[in-house]
């Protein structure tokens, strides 16, 4: 397809863009979906544009605004002389500086078997909470552990080829948890 000029058989760029934006009426959307179902070229393009739109870096106006506010606060706070309100520094809780989230390492994607869940360690984390779900979002198993590996009990039976999701949360302070991304995997090869 050359630039924005589509052959008569392919939808125009603006129609595909409107489809991705969810802006088409039912009848029009159905026409586009019928075309996409049979046209690998358009399907590839739509998927690529959806990915591009999802990953476009956002302008940093908010960050700049926050940075300016932070600088202003740093300049003003010493002048206000407020330490008595918060008490002496030695009595305060240590500052929470841990912001790293655990990363779900394995299993991810298609794996031969999945008998244990492995994730990355988070500095100063006291324990981890891991959760396994099926494709309907039903929680199959939940566990708390101090280690970064959790072995699935025999009571959890994974159907070969079925998708499962899991995530792990790390406790980094009192009632303070940071969670990994939700990752999916399928265990075993049901066919062939």
């Amino acid at each position: 397809m050359a630039a924005d000029e589509s052959p008569a058989t392919h939808p125009e760029a603006r129609v595909l863009a409107a489809y991705l934006d969810g802006a088409l009426k039912d009848a029009d959307r159905s026409l586009v979906e019928a075309h996409l179902a049979g046209c690998a070229e358009c399907r590839f393009e739509v998927a690529a544009v959806a990915q591009l739109v999802r990953t476009v870096p956002q302008p940093r106006r908010v960050a700049v605004g926050l940075a300016a506010a932070a600088v202003l606060a740093l300049l003003l706070v010493p002048a206000l002389d407020l330490p008595s309100r918060f008490g002496p520094a030695e009595r305060r809780e240590p500052a929470v500086t841990t912001t790293a989230a655990p990363v779900a390492i394995a299993p991810r994607g298609a794996v031969e078997s999945a008998r244990e869940l492995v994730w990355s360690a988070v500095p100063h984390a006291t324990r981890y909470r891991v959760m396994l779900m099926d494709s309907a979002g039903t929680v199959l198993w939940r566990w708390e552990i101090a280690d970064t590996v959790a072995v699935l009990p025999d009571t959890v039976r994974l159907s070969p080829g079925s998708p499962y999701f899991w995530k792990v949360e790390a406790e980094t302070g009192f009632d303070r948890w940071v969670a990994s991304d939700l990752v999916d995997f399928t265990a075993g090869t049901p066919h062939r």
């Binding site: 760029a13 934006d21 690529a48």
Partner: protein
């Protein structure tokens, strides 16, 4: 398809201010000023598109320059072709046009890029739709060895393929697209959710399960109970 042919017909969605200024600029100076404003508003998006398509930094910068040049060409012919549609964003359209231009430029300079295009997607993931479809009912011991495949098995396999094709054709376009994205293209549930606007990947899996059940029922009605030839 008439839908793909219609043009501006009093659509109510406004054209973005920077584009309107550019297209309405009366003299060359105003046009240059408006162009600078347009580029400044969308440079991040255009650069991102060029980088994703080209991977290599120099090629990406070349593609970015090419996109700008192409958008300026013939008194902004491509930008003038933009017609707002209610609920649709200008930036989505711009990404689509910029991506096509980048792909054109890469093909012109380097030929068909490796790993780009639907064919490579299909190669990347070899999936047997029927096997996936009926997987749960299959005992691996009962699967026939390819070496044993004779003319009968081949004929049966063709029949299975035809039956599956007919069953798929009976589905709604949305369900056919769902199957194509999942099994032909090997897209993840997350990607499919973004493309087809499912609220979450869970909804994708739920719909897939339902569609596969419909297909199984349709195949049973055609006298096919399993994938074994």
């Amino acid at each position: 398809m008439a839908l793909f042919l219609y043009r501006r017909r009093g659509m109510s969605n406004p054209i973005p201010a920077e584009l309107a200024c550019l297209l309405d600029a009366a003299d060359p100076a105003a046009r240059e000023h408006a162009w600078d404003r347009f580029v400044s508003a969308h440079t991040g998006l255009l650069l991102h598109t060029a980088r994703v398509v080209c991977h290599d930094h120099d090629a990406a910068m070349d593609a970015y320059a090419y996109v700008l040049e192409a958008l300026r060409q013939d008194d902004f012919r491509r930008l003038r072709a933009y017609t707002p549609m209610p609920g649709s964003k200008f930036t989505t359209w711009l990404v689509m046009v910029a991506r096509r231009l980048c792909v054109d430029q890469v093909r012109r300079r380097y030929g068909q890029p490796r790993g780009e295009g639907p064919a490579s997607e299909q190669v990347r993931l070899v999936r047997t739709r029927l096997a996936d479809l009926l997987a749960e009912d299959v005992d691996p011991d009962q699967l026939s060895e390819p070496a044993n495949a004779g003319p009968d098995a081949e004929l049966r396999s063709r029949e299975l393929g035809r039956a599956l094709g007919s069953s798929v054709d009976e589905l709604e376009p949305r369900d056919r697209l769902l199957l194509a994205l999942r099994f032909d293209d090997g897209r993840s549930a997350r990607e499919i959710a973004a493309i087809m606007r499912f609220p979450t990947p869970f909804h994708v899996y739920r719909r897939l399960t339902a569609v596969l059940e419909m297909l199984k029922a349709s195949l049973r009605r055609r006298g096919i109970e399993g994938p074994t030839p």
